[in-house]
């Protein structure tokens, strides 16, 4: 008789029950499969993750995996870093000094080569359209697993550009978008005086009570919870994290929206937000690759190095995972587009970088002489996402249910490389 009962259960209930560990042995059939999903290496201690999203697909050969002796070597020279044996681009000199707190993953290899599909893939670990389901981004998964259900702060914030959302997990795990870090959160402040706003909330509370007394539906309570959280956030001290105007460290991060976004990310992590994504666009360098990558690298260099250093100073580096990545790499060869050539899309072999979370100056994977294919430790999007989960103490084999009751594993077929990082 359970199959219909399960169908009756709303998605919210299922999630609630799952979170509470209520799925006891009583519900036979498929439930033991869920129960059996023993914690898979979810032992990491990171409490927050900052994803620095390099939109457009950053060139691996001009950032983390330089090949000075290859055919398409390009203009940049490698430099030594604080991690012995790791060399990175000369335009990341400050990052080089904190490389002992990071790792370069040089064996990324993925199947999607068009921007939109590849971004979706790297955020969710699933191909767009697969199985007719919209999958949640890693930020939404972290929000669900590490977020506070009733806290004053949102559990997933995306700064400076659209991000991928919560898919079938529902709007509760959608990112709160900050378009311009200088303006903070849209609609966070009321234009009204404090007393007027209080009056209004008082009226609202009164109406909610009366309505619930008569109609009693769950939806009324859920509405109340959401509004309470939103009001709490408006009034909270933590929400000041969104105001970067008077942060004394501002200059360290460089200038521009990305620098401001990274600074805001640090402030958000300090007040316990579990996932923050900051994006930096412009990496789609089909043309004029070297001048553009140099300028982008300078932005990354200032902001990323300041972020690592400041988190370390505040004692938060071990509990914060920083990821730098885009949707794919770029061709090992330089194209022949006019006077200022560039590199084109290349998902077959590329790099990403991770810092914090106890990582100690490591390299995972290796590409061939040209940076064209992976010769050691090929790493899939799933391996990477599984590693992020493990570093955050999340069991990536856990299954979430879609609205129609389909269980979908958080990350499919992951072979994480956590132990190679620590």
């Amino acid at each position: 008789m359970f199959s219909t009962k399960l169908q009756d259960r709303s998605r919210r209930d299922v999630l609630k029950l799952a979170a509470a560990g209520v799925f006891a042995p009583t519900l036979s059939g498929w439930l033991p499969v869920l129960a059996k999903a023993a914690p898979s290496g979810g032992t990491g201690k990171a409490k927050s993750c900052i994803l620095l999203w390099m939109d457009g697909g950053p060139t691996h050969k001009d950032t983390w995996d330089l090949k000075p002796d290859s055919k398409g070597a390009g203009d940049f020279k490698p430099i030594k870093t604080a991690a012995s044996g790791i060399e990175i681009s000369e335009h990341l000199p400050k990052v080089a000094q904190v490389m002992n707190h990071g790792a370069v993953v040089r064996g990324m290899t993925t199947p999607e080569g068009a921007h939109a599909r590849a971004k979706y893939y790297m955020h969710t670990g699933f191909r767009e359209g697969q199985g007719g389901v919209v999958y949640p981004a890693i930020g939404s998964l972290v929000s669900q697993e590490k977020g506070a259900a009733n806290g004053a702060m949102p559990n997933y914030v995306a700064i400076g550009g659209r991000s991928f959302g919560s898919g079938f997990l529902g709007p509760k795990h959608q990112p709160l978008l900050v378009t311009d870090p200088n303006r903070g959160v849209e609609d966070l402040k009321s234009a009204l005086s404090l007393s007027t706003f209080d009056n209004r909330v008082g009226l609202l509370e009164q109406m909610e009570k009366a309505f619930h007394r008569e109609y009693k539906a769950d939806a009324i309570n859920d509405h109340k919870t959401t509004y309470e959280r939103a009001v709490k956030m408006m009034q909270s001290k933590e929400a000041k994290a969104f105001d970067i105007s008077s942060d004394p460290s501002k200059a360290k991060y460089g200038s521009g929206r990305f620098a401001e976004g990274v600074l805001m990310a640090r402030r958000l992590v300090e007040v316990g937000v579990p996932f923050v994504e900051v994006s930096l666009g412009g990496w789609d360098t089909h043309q004029d690759n070297f001048a553009r990558v140099k300028s982008l690298s300078e932005q990354v260099d200032a902001a990323l190095s300041a972020l690592v250093t400041e988190l370390k100073d505040k004692g938060l580096l071990d509990s914060t995972l920083i990821v730098w990545m885009g949707e794919f790499g770029r061709t090992p060869n330089i194209n022949a587009r006019g006077a200022k050539p560039g590199r084109d899309h290349y998902p077959r072999a590329w790099s990403l970088a991770m810092f914090g979370a106890g990582i100690k100056g490591r390299v995972v994977g290796k590409t061939d002489k040209e940076g064209a294919s992976v010769v050691e430790r090929p790493t899939t999007a799933q391996d990477f996402l599984g590693t992020v989960c493990e570093l955050m103490g999340i069991d990536h084999t856990k299954k979430n249910e879609t609205a129609t009751g389909r269980p979908i594993q958080m990350v499919e077929k992951a072979k994480p490389f956590t132990k190679d990082l620590l």
Binding site: S3, T4, Q7, S10, G29, W30, V33, G113, A114, H115, A116, R117, F126, E128, G129, Q130, G132, P154, G165, S166, F168, G170, P171, K172, Q174, E186, D187, L188, S190, N199, R200, L203, L204, M207, E208, F211, Y215, K216, A217, A219, H223, T226, Y227, R229, A230, V231, M233, M234, T331, N333, N335, H345, Y346, K399, A403, T404, I408, Q409, E412, K413
Partner: protein
């Protein structure tokens, strides 16, 4: 009874999802991709005999011999009452006029009534005003919009492959068709067999937006037959008896479709001139039709392989089979989906996954209604909606009784539904007058006035990346609540001026706000409390406060 071994349902097989935009990829990568682009071969068990499988037989209830909505409503009530009695549950009372009014408006035309409409209905003493209202609403052109909102979301999924395909022509076509109400059989036949350009026949958009046989097969099964087949694309269905060959047998009906590739609109491509043809042979468009599926004959789901002439189009044969009264899925899916639209949940749930092992809450009623609508009822959707809405079952209050609060499947009380983002936008726009319906006009241009975006932007913000929101769970998050509280939507002083006019007596002003936003008059207690509030805070600010609270209340956003 068979359980749903959900773990098996995980989507693992490496289905080659086809890349929509190759414009920026260099040759080196294309070569690379070709090597990877493999589609799993269809089943290697072609010789296996698959027994025909129809949904569980039931004893359909007797239905009227002619189209008679009131009589059909009585059939519904008798069966629902019988089940409630068997479960020893009481039924909630008949809903009040205001509950009925707002519910019917939102369900049928997708927006709440205006204050004047509410007042007129509530003050109308005639005994048949509910039936008359249903007729008015079903004849209202906004019925087409409401249904077009729902069906465009289903049949034009958001993905990067169709981002240049024009959505508006399909939306408009749906709107017209739902208003014309040609019969669900004819409607779906013209959709499934559509040929021509977008400009000539907007229905072809369905094929352009789902540009591959597997997507078409999935959406056809899911939305018109109420079955999820996509698992069988790669392996046998884990918890039904569908075999993988069934999938490609259904897919073969779309095998001769040639759907143009959308042009890059950023480079000025005109996507009204692209379209769909059905050729003589199987399409060679690789991205449309996977190699591996080409040797499977067209075969109706769970039924025979029809004799098809290679020179004739295949899709009419599929459509004919689907809409035939004896088809075991089509009418049931229509009835179940329509019921869910009005009651928040179907007889079988999920409505697009009516697996044969599932047990309907009211199988006899569902099958009776399906049989009726497919024959006597002429697949008349408006007639079906009217009959359901005339029933006492639909006209129950959502207030639970002492013993039926926990019931979620026997329809002892009306389910509290949550407004869809479209309903919320349209209702807020009507009350506040400061939201613009920008459909078909692109993005609104910036300018003076409050910063509020268009309808699509609002809807997308509330959908937050999903295809639809739940009909019964409140899912909005903090960003949505912040927007409703603090954006100009509910904070425009002009709204309250326009709404109240010269009314200065608190009781009248409060009544106007309640009628406009909640479609009801305030209770005596509410008038007393709010009048005291107005006296304390002072008009007109106090009215702005009250309107704000009402627009942000759960009573506003829920459909009681």
């Amino acid at each position: 009874m068979r359980l749903r071994p959900v773990a098996l349902f995980a989507l693992t097989t490496g289905l080659a999802v086809l890349v929509g935009d190759l414009t920026n990829i260099d040759a080196q990568e294309k070569v690379n991709k070709k090597a990877k682009k493999k589609v799993d071969a269809p089943a290697t068990e072609p010789s296996e005999k698959i027994p025909p499988r129809a949904p569980r037989p039931s004893n359909p209830v007797a239905t009227p011999a002619a189209k008679d909505d009131a009589a059909l409503a009585k059939v519904i009530d008798a069966e629902v009452t019988r089940k409630l009695a068997a479960a020893k549950l009481t039924a909630s009372a008949k809903c009040s006029d205001d509950e009925f009014l707002r519910r019917a408006y939102l369900d049928i035309v997708g927006v709440i009534p205006t204050a004047d409409q509410a007042k007129a209905f509530l003050d109308n003493p005639s005994g048949d005003k509910r039936a008359k209202l249903l007729d008015e609403l079903l004849a209202d052109p906004r019925f087409g919009r409401r249904m077009a909102d729902i069906w465009t979301a289903k049949l034009f999924p958001k993905d990067s492959g169709n981002r240049f395909v024009l959505k508006e022509p399909l939306y408009k076509w749906f709107e017209e068709q739902f208003n014309k109400n040609p019969g669900w059989d004819k409607f779906i036949t013209s959709l499934v067999t559509a040929t021509g350009t977008v400009a000539d026949n907007p229905a072809v958009t369905y094929f352009l937006a789902n540009r591959s046989v597997d997507k078409l097969t999935d959406t056809t099964a899911q939305h018109f037959l109420g079955i999820q087949l996509q698992c069988c694309q790669c392996h046998n269905h884990p918890f039904t008896t569908w075999k993988q060959t069934e999938y490609w047998g259904m897919a073969a009906f779309y095998s001769k479709v040639k759907a143009d590739n959308p042009k890059n609109a950023n480079k000025g491509g005109d996507n009204t001139t692209i379209g769909v043809q059905e050729g003589n042979g199987r399409t060679k468009q690789k991205d449309f039709f996977p190699e591996a599926a080409k040797n499977v004959n067209a075969k109706f789901l769970g039924a025979e392989e029809p004799k098809l002439n290679e020179k004739d189009p295949y899709r009419p044969a599929l459509a004919k089979w689907m809409v035939a009264p004896e088809n075991p899925y089509f009418a049931r899916a229509m009835v179940n989906r329509t019921w869910a639209h009005l009651f928040g949940r179907g007889f079988i749930n999920p409505v697009d996954d009516m697996i044969e092992e599932s047990v309907a809450s009211h199988p006899e009623l569902m099958d009776g209604l399906a049989k009726h609508i497919a024959t006597t009822g002429e697949y008349d959707l408006k007639y079906l909606i009217k009959a359901m809405c005339l029933s006492e079952t639909y006209q129950r209050t959502s207030k639970p009784t002492a013993d039926n609060g926990a019931d979620t499947k026997l329809f002892s009380h009306m389910t509290m539904k949550v407004m869809s983002p479209e309903q919320l936008f349209d209702s807020l726009a009507q009350v506040t007058g400061n939201l613009r319906d920008t459909r078909g006009k692109g993005q609104p241009v910036g300018g003076k006035g409050p910063r509020v975006g268009g309808r699509e932007q609002f809807v997308n913000f509330f959908l937050a990346g999903a295809d639809t929101t739940s009909a019964v769970d409140y899912e909005a998050g903090i960003p949505q609540a912040l927007r409703l509280m603090n954006s100009p939507i509910a904070n425009n002083p002009a709204t309250i001026r326009a709404l109240l006019g010269k009314d200065t007596k608190p009781a009248d002003a409060i009544e106007k706000i309640y009628l406009a936003a909640l479609s009801r008059r305030p209770t005596a207690d509410e008038v007393k409390d709010l009048t005291a509030y107005v006296e304390r805070v002072g008009a007109p600010d106090a009215y702005g406060d009250i309107l704000w609270a009402v627009l942000n209340s759960s009573e506003f956003t829920l459909v009681k």
